[in-house]
Amino acid sequence: MTAHNASLLLPLIQADADSILAEWLTEFRSAASDRQAATEARAVLAAFTRGLEAGGGDVDFAAGPWEPLRDALAQLSASRAAQGSSSAETSRFVLALKKPLFQRLQQQIKDPVRLGDTLWWLTSIVDQAAQHTVGTYQSTREEIIRRQQQELLELSTPVVKLWDGVLAVPMIGTLDSARTQLVMEELLQRIVDSASELAIIDITGVPTVDTLVAQHLLKTVTAIRLMGADCIISGIRPQIAQTIVHLGIDLHGIVTKATLADALALALKRTGHVVSRPAGKA
């Protein structure tokens, strides 16, 4: 029956592909640039035709005959995702193909039972195509999000050398397990590489400190101590100091300073440096 349906539909498409395309685009009333939508529509229709020619039916959308169509749709949804159009918009684009095809079938087939049967066959294929598009669209978007997350992680954890033997990590943003882990590893490795005795963790850019964040900080400090270096936590804002005390977080045995400058002053003092201003320069 599939072959029969396909043999009915194929000549219809081949006969006037251009007007089908035009009607499709009118139906979609593209918000994206018309030329691009036209190109994409042409590619999808061509792949659809090839799928019909190869004997693709409504029950085997994941199989070989529909491979060109799946590729074309994947390309379409990837480019849509990159442009930032919504998933609803993208699936509507594919579904808009139904109307011109339905109209042609309606004109062609007079027997209502036969017509219903063919329409059901076609709608099933187009729906699966739309589903596939949305699925690909979704995974493309998720891929983008994952990449951005990774970039954010890498951007936000620099370990800087403040002085000979003094390292600093300015933490920006919320501390979660993954980020703390990354910072910890990076910092510990740098401590080994540079044989620094002091590390300053500056949390000026950390918006909130809860028990979990405090626990992460404590772990980092303990690890640094195990390696044989010392750690100072700086940049504790008044609100955060209040939160820490109210939550009953025990920062016992950890040196804390209000600002990075204070921490650096302490670090210099501990490493035996003296900062002085030449006389006569006030």
Binding site: Q181, E185, V192, A195, T222, L226, G228
Partner: protein, 126 residues
Amino acid sequence: MDRIPILQMGRCLLVTIQVDLQDQTALALQDDLSAKIEATGATGVLIDISALEIVDSFIGRMLASISGIARVLDATTVVVGMQPAVAITLVELGLSLDGVRTALNVERGMRLLTESQPESDLDAGR
């Protein structure tokens, strides 16, 4: 079974762990070291674990107990050269090794030991 060598340098004992510690080896080290401290009257023990890449909770606890035993025998223990991965593992295991002194490398560990040695030694001339 491997035994970890214990070297004497003045009034300090030097233990460098060059292989991944088996439980038996660690237990033997604990025995040997306490005997050696007793025999030599050492006041400092330096354990270099820079070549140690894998630790479990048992080895972590061993380090803590060796340090505790040494303290009872009046010797200070310094653990030096812990690898980042080892430090993270110990922290994740909940072993913060409180009471164990640490240093980045052997040189600094030695300095820490010599600084902490009692000034007025009765037998300083030994």
